[in-house]
């Protein structure tokens, strides 16, 4: 899987022509910007909705391949709608979701993390960053987790070392297990096995 932020090669071939795509944005102009960019990628937006309830009506009955939704909307916002989507069952509970945000309120950071979207793109986004994210979410094969109220892709998607002290419990348990295994093997080799 390509990493986030990795530039796409200009000569790479992509085929998004048949992707049934929905754009949800309360701003008609912002939706037009998004659909224009998608059209350049070969995606003819099938559903462009101005509100979450309008989108939900379609999503309950029609299977889509990609959802691009704005976070900030009057009434039901994008976070709430994605949370609903993940719990909505077939046909769209596992659909790739890209959220767009001009600004994320401090109080919304946790909601952004917990809503179940595959990726959040902050505006202004360029055509290349949008395409990179689409390719990335298309190939995003993280398992989906249900943990408490959360339903969405496994959020621990970074590979490699943590930037600071390791705090991930599964990694700590694994490190402890490896250390114990190594100690036992060393003891056996030294003839000190219990």
């Amino acid at each position: 899987m390509s990493t986030v932020g990795e530039a796409l090669r200009d000569t790479a071939i992509i085929n998004l022509t048949g992707a049934v795509t929905m754009v949800v944005d309360d701003s008609a102009f912002s939706a037009e910007i998004t659909t224009s960019a998608l059209l350049g990628f070969g995606i003819r937006t099938r559903h462009s909705c101005r509100s979450a309830p309008e989108a939900m009506q379609i999503l309950a009955e029609t299977e889509i391949d990609l959802l691009v939704i704005d976070c900030e909307m009057p009434g039901m916002d994008g976070f709430e709608m994605v949370q609903w989507l993940r719990r909505s069952g077939p046909p769209n509970a596992f659909v790739p979701v890209i959220m767009t945000a001009a600004h994320i309120r401090r109080s919304m950071v946790n909601r952004a993390r917990n809503c179940g979207a595959n990726y959040i793109v902050t505006k202004p986004f360029s055509a290349s960053s949008l395409l990179e994210r689409i390719v990335w979410v298309a190939r995003d094969n993280r398992p989906f987790l249900e943990v408490g109220e959360y339903f969405g892709p496994d959020r621990r998607f970074r590979e490699g070392q943590a930037p600071g002290e390791e705090r991930r419990s599964d990694r700590l348990r694994l490190a402890q297990f490896e250390a114990e295994k190594a100690a036992t093997a060393a003891a056996v080799a030294a003839g000190n096995a219990p």
Partner: protein, 157 residues
């Protein structure tokens, strides 16, 4: 806490993206940029319209009216970023983003200095009328605004 894991699955989009046909990434990006560039004039009109909406707001007199005004300010500032962003109007985006921060802060602290809104609106109006070539003047507008915000919240904090 119980964790239910749903197995990894390949989306239809994943199968589609590598299927036969399609286009080169370079071509897709060029077409997307051309499509967005066609909306340039409309984008500038949108920016001007939302700045106008901000300028038309009256200082509210009741708590309910204040909440509604803050919601509208935040929404307009968001729409300014939406419309200005794709056309490289970074300084306008920065001022609109600063305004979003102010509203966000006001919601947390239950207070809002309306003079700050006025300064942001004046900055937006000025940036929207200054030509793109007036780099120094544009920089001066954003620098002074940033200094004012820093001073204000430096004192408050």
């Amino acid at each position: 806490m119980t964790v239910i894991t749903h197995a990894r699955r390949t989306s239809r989009l994943a199968k589609m993206i590598d299927s036969a046909g399609g286009m080169a990434v370079g071509v897709a990006l060029t077409r997307a940029r051309e499509n967005i560039a066609r909306l340039h004039g409309q984008g500038l009109e949108e920016v001007a319209r939302h700045i106008g909406e901000l300028a038309a707001l009256q200082q509210p007199t009741t708590p309910e009216a204040k909440d509604e005004s803050l919601r509208r300010i935040y929404q307009s500032a968001n729409h300014i970023i939406d419309a200005a962003g794709p056309f490289g109007l970074d300084d306008i985006c920065a001022v609109a983003s600063s305004l979003c921060d102010m509203v966000d802060r006001a919601a947390a602290e239950h207070s809002f200095d309306w003079r700050i809104l006025q300064v942001h609106i004046q900055s937006l109006q000025l940036l929207n009328t200054l030509p793109a070539e007036a780099v120094r003047q544009r920089e001066a507008v954003t620098t002074q605004l940033s200094a004012m915000v820093a001073k204000k919240f430096g004192q408050a904090g």
